[in-house]
Symmetry: C2
Subunit: 206 residues, 2 copies
DNA sequence: GTCTATAGATGGATAGAC
DNA sequence: GTCTATCCATCTATAGAC
């Protein structure tokens, strides 16, 4: 039952739509463009998915479920907290290096139609409370500094995601003429973010 | 010479266009909408600015020059490094609290037409090298930990800006049902980011 | 300078043949 | 299921009266 014979028309459409929507966004994408990418014509898009909106929703909902789950489980394993955070950052940056358009796309769409986003996101029932509890236990145990665990999460996501979402600006701001160095900078952040975070929150063993 | 008599048509248009473009973006904004907001009709928009693109560029270029300069000067004053970083974060978050739509707008537009952005941005000649030099001096003096100053800058901007740009998602992710607490969370980050950064980079006085 | 009216282009959606 | 042809709404842009 493992996704055999994936080259039927519906899958071709979904694959093409995903590519185009992520690159151009809902408003920027053209149905003709998606049809071309899929090697079919516009009418077929409407035959399989009634409207552009419906097609977009299919892509977007699928993307949301794809992004979150894998990474959070890692934070709930029984490794030491330093190692868990280090691995989280590495995995997350690796994912972003493989999907560099994703951050800008998601940010654009959640701000364009935040009502729709909130509805679909709430359905996913993603719950970080287990992670927050874990962090608070580490604070009680004196392993990390006492602070709002939501700030840890926000800072981690911010430092990982923002440099991808703001790439056209940050690469010029940080490197000027030599902005081709930016991709290497992103790669190196797997270790620099880790150092930055651990230096901030890990307490010395007594 | 101080911008007297600001209520001529051109200024009304610019003000209206700024509001609408920031809220809807270049692609989402409608010329009719801007005309309504300005209390005039569509044709006048084209009389003053030849095209939607030209009107957008006027707004966008103006915004870029407005955002950057004030804040960087602060980092070059002769206060202690801890104080400079603390003030930078406070000022920056305050600016974002007053312009909450700005981050999502800028990120959307620099990714939509990054060629245009790179051209206009390069003209601004914003140069962070003086700031990087200052940070490196502080490292040499043993005041802060040795690291790539670009990571400091990237992390600062990320932690300040990202929670605004990703608000529709982060508020649900961090607070779930109680997401009305998010605005207070943003406000408090003026001090929590400061603690987070200083704990990471400031070295103890020997 | 400001308006109404309309041209012209684009793009989502549908009808209907095969 | 897949195609071509076309409809129709939307939106930028312009013509022309005042």
């Amino acid at each position: 039952m493992n996704e055999i014979k994936k080259d039927n028309t519906e899958d071709k459409i979904l694959k093409a739509a995903k590519t185009i929507f992520i690159r151009k966004g809902m408003e920027g994408a053209r149905m003709q463009e998606i049809a071309d990418e899929a090697g079919i014509n516009k009418a077929l898009l409407h035959y399989y998915f009634r409207s552009k909106q419906k097609l977009f929703e299919a892509i977007f909902v699928n993307l949301l479920t794809q992004i979150f789950p894998n990474i959070t489980t890692l934070l709930l394993s029984d490794k030491p907290i330093e190692e868990k955070i280090g691995l989280f950052i590495e995995k997350y940056i690796d994912m972003l290096l493989q999907n560099p358009y994703l951050p800008a796309f998601v940010l654009k769409e959640i701000n364009r139609d935040s009502d729709f986003f909130e509805k679909t996101f709430s359905n996913r029932k993603i719950d970080l409370n287990l992670i927050f509890n874990m962090l608070e236990k580490e604070m009680e145990a004196g392993n990390i500094r006492k602070m709002n665990p939501r700030d840890i999460m926000a800072n981690l996501l911010a430092m990982c995601i923002f440099p991808f979402a703001a790439k056209p600006m940050l690469k010029l701001l940080l490197f000027g003429e030599n902005h081709q160095q930016y991709d290497q900078f992103l790669e190196e952040r797997k270790s620099t973010i880790k150092e930055f975070v651990l230096n901030s929150i890990v307490l010395p063993k007594s």
